[in-house]
């Protein structure tokens, strides 16, 4: 009798021990959230992940809005050692999927009901071949214009509702010795201003045709020439030292009253609040002149990895990223709005609430558009080709008609 019991105990023990090879969900995450503010926001996610039994292994690579991170990612994937999750957004997600290296998150998505929780256009970015392969973190609005309230009051100006209004306001400011537009001369910033101008001058349909469909007629049209004309005018509104300046230094110029306006995505709000300024009182936020909404959605794509720990880690990470608490905390800190529909916005300030409202409206009337400058609308090669022309035009005295010709040629060559 005793031997039988011992035998059973032994068998059961072995069975249990075999199961404990699984140590718990584990995730190695490649990202470029390396500044103090971002680190604090991401730390909230790490804390939640670990509270749920997970182990977070950090692989941060700063620089260039993700360039160095992408280099590291490519090397890792090629060597068969992909990280568990990586900060990838836009069409790149589908590009990586076409290489067959992404994992399938559909089970998590179904269990959590993502289809109902995410706006349709955003959900589509997260899907590969119809199944979810990435989890959205936030929605950044790109086409914002920020202003120093005090400077505008002194100049007797309101936030411009058309580009013509902007131009005349700028001339007034120049007369007062104030820099109208604080700008940082880096290719992506030039591209950001360009796309808001294109949206305002050409309208949502033109934007979609030119920068999402890459329709050659739209790219070579007179409207496009008008966009470049306006860019040439904008060039005269920036100070001579703008080249190479980082975007947050440009924001600082607006904060301290050296400059009046900055055209920058909603992450600029973080700089204002960090300097103790409040929206509506010290600084103003508004959509850049014109209709439409340009979005930039950060997301984590999950890679096909081996090992129960890592796969569990991916699923847990995906679940938590779209969860309400992370969506609230992270976006409060970053200046963006939650991707998750129905997240209570009572803690968010009026700029964020305005953005969320505008997004709903735009989604309804078809003017919710992906940003080309921030990698949501086009593949890297094509977006890069357009940006090359834009930044060259802005930094030289190229004629608008030549710029349009160069644009068409560059896009053709990049297809």
């Amino acid at each position: 009798m005793r031997q039988i019991i011992l035998g059973i105990v032994a068998a059961v023990t072995t069975f249990i021990n075999a199961g404990t090879v699984f140590a718990g969900p584990e995730a190695e995450v490649l990202h470029w959230w390396t500044s103090g503010g971002e680190a604090r926001s991401a730390a909230a996610l790490v804390a939640e992940f670990e509270a749920n039994g997970g182990t977070w292994q950090d692989m941060p690579v700063a620089g260039g809005g993700g360039d160095a991170a992408m280099q590291a990612l490519r090397a890792r994937v090629l060597s068969g050692n992909a990280p568990t999750a990586a900060q990838i957004k836009g069409p790149s997600i589908q590009e990586w999927y076409s290489q067959g290296v992404l994992a399938d998150l559909d089970d998590v998505a179904k269990a959590e009901g993502w289809d109902a929780l995410l706006p349709e256009s955003i959900a589509n970015h997260m899907k590969c071949g119809g199944k979810y392969c990435a989890a959205p973190v936030n929605v950044h609005r790109v086409d914002w214009i920020w202003a120093n309230a005090d400077v505008l009051a002194r100049a007797g100006l309101d936030m411009p509702t058309s580009w013509a209004e902007f131009n005349s306001a700028a001339k007034t400011l120049l007369g007062m010795g104030i820099i109208p537009l604080a700008h940082g001369g880096q290719a992506w910033q030039d591209a950001t201003v360009f796309e808001t101008v294109a949206l305002g001058v050409g309208g949502p349909e033109f934007f979609h045709k030119a920068f999402v469909e890459l329709d050659m007629t739209a790219l070579g049209s007179d409207t496009m020439e008008a966009v470049f004309d306006q860019m040439r005018i904008m060039r005269s509104f920036v100070d001579p030292n703008f080249s190479g300046r980082d975007w947050n230094l440009a924001t600082a110029m607006v904060i301290n009253g050296e400059a009046a306006f900055q055209i920058m995505g909603d992450w600029a709000k973080g700089e204002f609040t960090a300097a103790g300024k409040s929206p509506g009182k010290d600084f103003l936020c508004a959509s850049t002149p014109g209709a439409g909404y340009l979005y930039n959605v950060d997301s984590f794509a999950m890679f096909a990895v081996k090992g129960a720990d890592k796969i569990a880690g991916q699923k847990l990470l995906a679940k938590l990223v779209v969860g309400e608490s992370f969506q609230t905390v992270f976006n409060l800190n970053k200046g963006s709005i939650p991707a998750r529909i129905g997240t209570p916005l009572d803690k968010f300030d009026y700029c964020a609430r305005q953005s969320a409202y505008d997004m709903e409206v735009a989604s309804g009337n078809g003017s919710l558009l992906p940003s080309y400058a921030h990698g949501m609308a086009l593949r890297g090669a094509q977006a890069g080709a357009i940006t090359d022309v834009v930044t060259n035009h802005f930094n030289s005295d190229m004629k608008s008609s030549d710029a349009v010709k160069a644009l068409v040629a560059a896009v053709k060559d990049s297809l």
Binding site: E28, D58, P60, A72, R74, R76, S79, P83, N248
Partner: protein, 299 residues
Amino acid sequence: MVDNKGLVGSVRFVEYLVPRVQRLGIYLALVVFAAYYLMPLFVMLTTSLKSLDEIRTGSFISLPRDIDFSSWKIAWSEACTGVKCNGLKPYMLNSFLIAIPAVAISTMVGALNGYTLSHWKFKGANLIFGMMLFGCFVPFQVILLPMAIVLGKLGVAGSISGLVLVHVVYGLGFTTLFFRNYFVTVSNEITRAAKIDGAGFFRIFYSIFLPLSAPIFVVTIIWQFTQIWNDFLFGVSFSQAGTQPVTVALNNIVNSTTGVKQYNVDMAAAILAALPTLLVYILAGKYFIRGLTAGAVKG
């Protein structure tokens, strides 16, 4: 009226003055150049000792009003390099673990290669040397991706040993060059005599060549240590969480794209990361020149 003594006197005065003016000119030129060279280091040091307000309001070249070492402490153990905010400290060990084996191996192999190529010539030796030398000139971005594939196949992707392998392979060209050009100046007679006496390949290396190669060892070690310690490209591509070298951490501190830029912390971090190489250069600089004089680079 020309006075004999006066003429001689003025000639003597010129004789006295001209070399001294020349000397003065030389010193002046050196001081000007030294200023050009020291300026960035001066800017970095003073900035690392200022507070952020002082940096914003003062000029880039002014001395700090109060010397403030807090940014150094932050850079070492509190700066955010990602989600973790532990400064540079955790990464320094990785850099040492990569650099020391890589320097040791590439130097020893280079020494043996250089010895072989200079005193044990065989048909095709020069071609082999030339082909190895050409490897010094390949831009690293070019070999990044194929290397990733190979490291993956070898199973060392993301590990310290993988990085050591990469640095050894790409250091071989230079180390072989340095040793070969140095050993070439040692007369062939010595080796011939030793061979006649019956000494073998390794015996000759050990008893004749090693003892006289101290200067070139120093040159090679300095060069290799600098290149490997300062490398960012390989370090960021072939490491993973837990094996990242200090250059990756430094990049994360300095190149964060959002948030207030803490210039003082950036500068302190940059100097901390560079301390090992700076120390190596300053302490061994003398031997560097001696090693070069002894023929490392002539032709």
